[in-house]
Symmetry: C2
Subunit: 266 residues, 2 copies
């Protein structure tokens, strides 16, 4: 079984090509692949599969040839990931599965439009924000398809991400992502508590939510750089109300899983 | 640049073949390769290089064709690793660089003799223990080439590995590894604070030290299974005073580092 390892702002993925939709991707196999010591290691798996061969998304096949089948490290299906879709786009071009600098990629959250920039970054249309939802006092609610509550603080270094984050998630029906953000010399800085995961190095929808909330409060313009622990993202909230996320997409290595390892873990 | 990822009891390594000793293995490149999110990920790198081509160990070349050049994740050279040498042996045979079930491998701690067993485990002659060295009250000092202090406790679950380990290391001239061990239904169980690293999933010399100390105290026989957080090791302190460590050696995947990634990190 072939794989590619890649990351976007240190949010890392194992891409598994599945050109004929024949891969038996069990939860156990995903967990074994994502194990950082006993497997390849990653935050999740991105199965690369023709959209037309996957019933749940086949309706997107006219627009998008490839489906990003994203699984969390525990095997659970995930709708969309702003870091993952950049790495997925880079993979398609690097492996000759797509060409040009504008791609459409099928996801469980619908077709995503992606642009590969000359400087090596990738820009993703993340859709329009929405603002109706629960937030603790002092926080701003922003939905980017998934829910976020954003706190602005003097500095993210001392922000109570790991202490208040889980409490806020638990107290919110359906859970929520929690961001602590600050104005920084570069634009904005943020740390994130991801729903169901914990504190992470980067969250694409979280960066979008923070930039939108900052713009609404007059803390930034509608285009701003957002420093996350894993690197730098750019967010632009354009006049048509759509939010565009720009960031790195790095392919680290290509490889083949050992047959004996697969026999022991599949 | 080709690589193989492997592990022994969840102590994981990136093996880098270097058949003509031409690899410029800087500390920065080792750290980048070992980065679990931005690189391949591992506790360290094992460079696979002909012994005769490395001046510091060339004297071992008559006995051992291949030198295990072990670097910690920060790039620092390491003398020997009981988990790494098993994976190294498995790699040599899997890649056709050695054959048979008995191998000699050059290390900075001298030639190590290894046996590949029919059940897939690998046995390493870890040498003779020594007992002259500093230990806190209640602990047993055992040197397996490197220093260990072993505490026996009723249960390893509640052992103060992360709280007392660093204090004992700091209070010992030159530092020390610290093991907490208990008699278990399977034989012995242990947790380890590794000198310069912290609590880890497994330590081969630590398992040997624990088994020797337990045997001296009449808590086990001279052959005993030792459960570490990352899996199961077997230790046999034979009549000739040499200690043999047996455990799994798993090759997970073979791969090639991306040229662009290497350009950015080498």
């Amino acid at each position: 079984m072939r794989f590619t390892k890649g990351h976007g702002t240190a949010n890392d993925f194992v891409l598994l090509p599945d050109p004929d939709a024949s891969l038996a991707l069990t939860d156990a196999l995903v967990a074994a692949v994502c194990d950082r010591r006993r497997g390849v290691g990653g935050d999740g798996v991105l199965r690369v599969v023709p959209t037309a061969l996957v019933p749940e998304v086949a309706a997107q096949a006219r627009e998008a040839e490839w489906f990003m089948d994203y699984r969390n490290a525990d095997g659970g299906a995930v709708e969309m990931c702003g870091n993952g879709v950049r790495v997925f786009a880079r993979y398609l071009v690097a492996h000759g599965l797509a060409s040009g600098d504008a791609l459409a990629i099928a996801t469980r959250d619908g077709v995503k439009h992606v642009r590969l920039n000359d400087d090596g970054t990738v820009t993703v249309d993340m859709g329009t924000p929405a603002f109706e939802g629960p937030a603790p006092e002092g926080a701003t609610f922003v939905s980017m398809g998934n829910p976020h509550v954003v706190f602005f603080v003097p500095s993210v270094d001392a922000a109570p991400v790991a202490t208040r984050g889980p409490d806020i998630e638990a107290a919110t029906p359906g859970g929520t992502n929690v961001e602590y953000a600050a104005v920084s010399p570069r634009g904005l800085a943020m740390r994130v508590w991801e729903r169901g995961v914990g504190e992470t190095m980067s969250c694409g929808t979280g960066a979008c939510a923070v930039a939108v909330a900052a713009s609404l409060r007059g803390l930034s313009g509608r285009a701003v750089d957002v420093t996350v622990p894993g690197g730098l993202l750019g967010v632009e909230w354009r006049a048509d109300d759509r939010v565009y996320l720009t960031g790195p997409a790095v392919l680290v290595a290509d490889g083949t899983l050992s047959g004996a390892w697969l026999d022991a873990n599949a």
